[in-house]
């Protein structure tokens, strides 16, 4: 069973739940941020997009302090898979579960569009359904998605192979033009060192039905479901 964490101001929580349960036929339940434990039998944690606490102060800065985050940290430490999309990614960075920070887009405006993404590696639990070098098309919609880390940290991230997705052209080329927010290294998705925590600016949950933004999001969410089913 997957737990979708609901913060006040989460917006894509219901969409994540819909994608996982209604479209992909997984088991999924909503968990309120004031809880201090995850439901028994949780196989994966999903931190949804949206605007927890209105994105006031800094995106994810206040949600990170919610009681449930203690349980999420324990779950992650024990190796459980945790996926944060958009605001969820920001919460994971603020909570220290992922390296770096997400800053205001370099063009200083919110951007909603489809982007192309290059899969940098195939690995459980997030990308087993795809291939290294595959190109995914997913929507982004954020004002603060510019991934930043200090030079030292960025080197470590690259050396450890922690980058899962990069913004790219349709043919996989990494370029300035295809980087929608000024992220360092065109990084769109980053893993923790152990590989069980992933933050993504793009929204896989908004690309699971052909008529509603395509189906490339299944590459990610489906991988998670496979992991849960085989575990």
């Amino acid at each position: 069973m997957f737990a979708v964490i609901q913060f006040p101001g989460s917006c894509d929580d219901r969409d994540m739940w819909f994608a996982m349960s209604s479209v992909l036929a997984g088991k999924c339940s909503m968990v309120w941020h004031q809880e201090s434990e995850l439901p028994a039998g949780t196989k994966g944690v999903l931190l949804p997009g949206g605007f927890s606490y209105g994105d006031y102060l800094r995106c994810g800065a206040m949600a990170q302090l919610s009681p449930i985050m203690g349980a999420v940290k324990r779950f992650a430490k024990s190796g459980g898979p945790v996926l944060g999309t958009c605001n969820g990614f920001q919460v994971l960075c603020e909570a220290g579960l992922l390296p770096g920070a997400l800053r205001r887009n370099s063009q200083l405006a919110f951007v909603c569009d489809d982007v192309h993404l290059r899969v940098e590696k195939r690995a459980e639990p997030f990308s087993s359904r795809t291939e290294q070098g595959a190109i995914l098309t997913l929507p982004i919609k954020h004002g603060e998605g510019c991934f930043y880390a200090s030079e030292v940290e960025l080197d470590l991230i690259e050396q450890n192979g922690q980058v899962l997705l990069r913004y790219c052209e349709l043919d996989g080329t990494i370029s300035k033009a295809s980087n929608p927010n000024g992220s360092l290294g065109s990084i769109a998705g980053v893993l923790n060192k152990e590989g069980n925590v992933l933050g993504l600016m793009p929204h896989p949950e908004h690309a699971v039905e052909a008529a509603f933004g395509g189906t490339d999001g299944i590459a990610i969410l489906g991988s998670l479901l496979d992991m849960a089913r085989s575990a």
């Binding site: 997009g49 919110f110 909603c112 919609k141």
Partner: protein, 746 residues
């Protein structure tokens, strides 16, 4: 408590007239208290009482078999079948947005969303119609940037997709921009909530943000008088929107409304606590007793006058079942919101308000709320109408370079791509967007309140051609209703009902009243003929600065339904080698066209005719074609004529070109750029079936060309090539229209 004594001068200062003040004294049988005067002044303001427009609005067609709730509540509601309802409304926030574009637009979005969820509906989509002066003016670049970021800031944060709208530029808006926001929500038909304070003894509960000193007299003075750029004194503090609180309010209210704890609910919009409590008591034929000492407040010292008239955002007033107050408050608290019992429902038809032990308001509800003044303002045809409508085409220089003209039109911000705008909006949240901004109408899937998907989708469009409305308000308004319906039908959806926002100048001028009356008449005629009743709306008057009014702008919001979204039709050419069919008749009408305005600087003439009988047949035909899956695309021909419509059709992701031959019995510019209404370009693999359905539907249809290639080629019947240009080139001009003006190269 030290409140000023009330006299006629003070009443006049409050925007009341001498007669109105006399009326107040008659109703009360005494001189009003300061707070009472404040209440009358807002409740009887143009913005809240609709005193100039009321008698004319009554002529609108508001009934239909599918109408669940017409005008008079927070929003209109129509049945979608299967126990579901669509709830929608459009509202203006023009003056606040001109003063502070970001927060003005943001709070406009917040206000319309509250109207939707107050009815028990989850807002699923927003649209907006925004109008500015020229982008050559730095101030209007600032205003556009601010308005768009405000709409995005609020809409994105509350998690409601912004799926469409219109963005227009014209000098008549240079001193008075327009910001109209529309929202649509979904509710269960049996669970639509109304604003009624029913049940004597039931608790009245205040929930949401604390009350501050902001926006006092926003409704009565800001929205009900003209702008005078010299005087700042009347300007109330602009409110800052708090979308996070709104999001929590939406969730808490919808959660509560799924229980049986709530009897009635009303948002505190214009005129705040005053307006909402009066409306609730008036609707239910009851009274309300309230203690102001309990109102959550931001400033330690607030007078009763301020507490009653504050327009602080993100606040709701609820009447709960007696005994459920604790439960209600606990749900709000879980969402981090203040909620307190502030009073109760009484049976004496009076509004009684106490503050620090004394009664500060004691007014009979009905005379204030329901019997507010109704004016019959004089109206007179504008003297320059003849001049507006006269156009001698033989004196207009003809078009020597149609290709250059097409590029010029596409590069105009009015016709150019609006993606600079809508890229800043979350178009995807809630996962229902089938067709987002950029097509004719947006198309959004309907989910049930429990989150389960249906095959239904709503098509939504907002439209108004302000130039047509200026040349002929009646015909312009008819054209707006027809176009909105046609846009909806182009997706394959059946147009169902209308919401409207009437943006006009100062109604005290007979010429403006004439425009308003004519526009309302045009809406009525068109809405009746097309079977799309008006279920909600808003009137925004006094849109003028230093005596210069805006072009009359009756913005039309149309909602339609498609039973199976798999039948939906997009606006762009999909594949090469498909037949292009032109539906409708070209009457070669150039009056009021974009080409005349842009290429010749002429904004006169008669706007194109609107044949409503035909329009209804056309819309039926489009819906049938969708159901039979005959069409690959369909796109309405509007501003810029067929040349622009063809170019736009080529601008899809697929980037498919086309080759078309037009029957140019007329002049070149009439044929390429004329704006005859009721025309649609469709593409198909089965032309015979389409033509035969068109014959059966009694709509003219003729094959004009084929899709394919990388160029757009338009020829005339005698084989002379009028335009032959690469789609990529056209597209880049079109895409740069706004960015090149907003972010000029350094």
């Amino acid at each position: 408590m030290n409140e000023p004594d009330v006299d006629l001068d003070l009443a006049l200062e409050h925007g009341l007239t001498e007669q109105e003040y006399a009326q107040i004294i008659k109703i009360l049988g005494r001189t009003p208290s300061f707070s009472e005067l404040g209440i009358f002044s807002v409740m009887w303001s143009e913005h809240c009482s609709y005193k100039s427009s009321k008698r004319h609005l009554k002529t609108l067609p508001v009934k239909g078999p599918h109408v669940l709730q017409g005008p008079g509540e927070n929003a209109g509601a129509i049945s979608l079948g299967d126990g579901l309802a669509a709830v929608f409304k459009i509202e203006s926030h023009n003056h606040p947005s001109f003063i502070e574009p970001k927060q003005g637009a943001a709070t406009g979005v917040g206000g319309i969303l509250r109207d939707i969820f107050t009815m028990g509906a989850r807002p699923i989509a927003s649209l907006n119609s925004i109008r500015f002066g020229s982008l050559a003016d730095a101030r209007h670049r600032f205003l556009l940037r601010g308005v768009v970021s405000g709409i995005g800031h609020y809409g994105n944060c509350v998690g409601v997709a912004t799926v469409g709208g219109e963005t227009q530029f014209h000098d008549s808006y240079a001193g008075n921009i327009l910001v109209n926001a529309m929202s649509v929500g979904i509710a269960e038909e049996s669970k639509i909530f109304l604003a009624g304070a029913k049940g004597v003894g039931n608790p009245v509960i205040y929930a949401g943000s604390k009350t501050g000193r902001d926006g006092i007299h926003g409704a009565s003075l800001l929205a009900s008088s003209e702008f005078d750029e010299t005087g700042n004194d009347k300007r109330p503090t602009v409110q800052v929107g708090d979308p996070f609180t709104e999001k929590c309010l939406i969730e808490a209210c919808l959660e509560l409304m799924s229980t049986d704890a709530i009897v009635g609910i009303q948002d505190m919009g214009a005129a705040g606590l005053t307006c909402s409590s009066f409306e609730m008591a008036s609707n239910a034929g009851t009274g309300i007793e309230m203690n102001l000492d309990t109102i959550p407040r931001r400033a330690a010292t607030m007078t009763p006058y301020e507490l009653l008239l504050s327009e602080s955002q993100e606040r709701m007033l609820l009447v709960a079942q007696s005994g459920k107050e604790e439960f209600v408050c606990s749900v709000f608290e879980r969402w981090g919101l203040d909620a307190v019992v502030v009073g109760k429902v009484t049976d004496d038809g009076r509004m009684r308000v106490s503050f620090e032990g004394s009664t500060v308001v004691d007014i009979p509800v009905d005379p204030v709320a329901a019997s507010s003044p109704e004016l019959n303002r004089p109206s007179k045809e504008p003297e320059d109408l003849g001049a507006r409508q006269s156009l001698n085409l033989s004196l207009v220089e003809s078009e020597s370079d149609p290709e250059a003209a097409l590029k010029a039109l596409l590069s105009d911000p009015n016709l150019g791509s609006k993606s600079w705008v809508y890229r800043q909006y979350d178009q995807r949240v809630q996962g229902n967007t089938l067709i987002g901004p950029g097509g004719d109408a947006a198309l959004v899937r309907v989910k049930r309140p429990d989150g389960s998907p249906t095959t239904k989708a709503l098509a939504i469009s907002v439209d108004c051609n302000h130039r047509f409305c200026w040349l002929d308000p009646e015909k312009g308004a008819m054209a707006a209703v027809a176009e909105a319906g046609r846009n909806v039908a182009c997706t394959g959806a059946k147009p169902l009902a209308v919401t409207n926002c009437l943006n006009f100048g100062n109604p005290e001028k007979p010429e403006i009243m004439w425009e308003l009356k004519k526009a309302i008449k045009g809406i009525s005629i068109a809405a009746s003929a097309l079977g799309t009743p008006i279920v909600s709306g808003n009137v925004s008057l006094y849109n003028e600065t230093n005596g210069t009014p805006i072009f009359p702008t009756p913005t039309i919001g149309m909602v339609g339904l498609i039973d199976d979204w798999a039948d939906a039709i997009g606006a762009h050419f999909k594949r090469p080698y498909q037949e292009i069919i032109l539906i409708g008749t070209d009457r070669f009408e150039l009056g009021g066209s974009m080409w005349l305005a842009k290429m010749r600087g002429i904004e006169s003439g008669r706007p194109p005719e609107v044949d409503l009988g035909y329009e209804r047949r056309l819309q039926k035909f489009l819906v049938l074609s969708g159901e039979r899956r005959l069409l690959s695309s369909s796109h309405d021909i509007s501003d810029g004529g067929i040349a622009v419509a063809l170019a736009e059709s080529c601008f899809g992701l697929e980037g498919c070109g086309a080759s078309v031959t037009l029957n140019a019995e007329s002049t070149l510019e009439e044929c390429l750029f004329g704006e005859s209404t009721g025309r649609v370009l469709v593409t198909t693999d089965c032309a015979e079936d389409v033509l035969s359905l068109a014959r059966d539907s009694d709509v003219p249809a003729i094959v004009v060309g084929k899709t394919g290639g990388e160029r757009l080629k338009i020829s005339s019947l005698n084989d002379s090539v009028l335009i032959d240009v690469s789609v990529a080139q056209l597209k880049s001009v079109w895409e740069d229209a706004i960015p090149s003006r907003m972010d000029p190269e350094e």
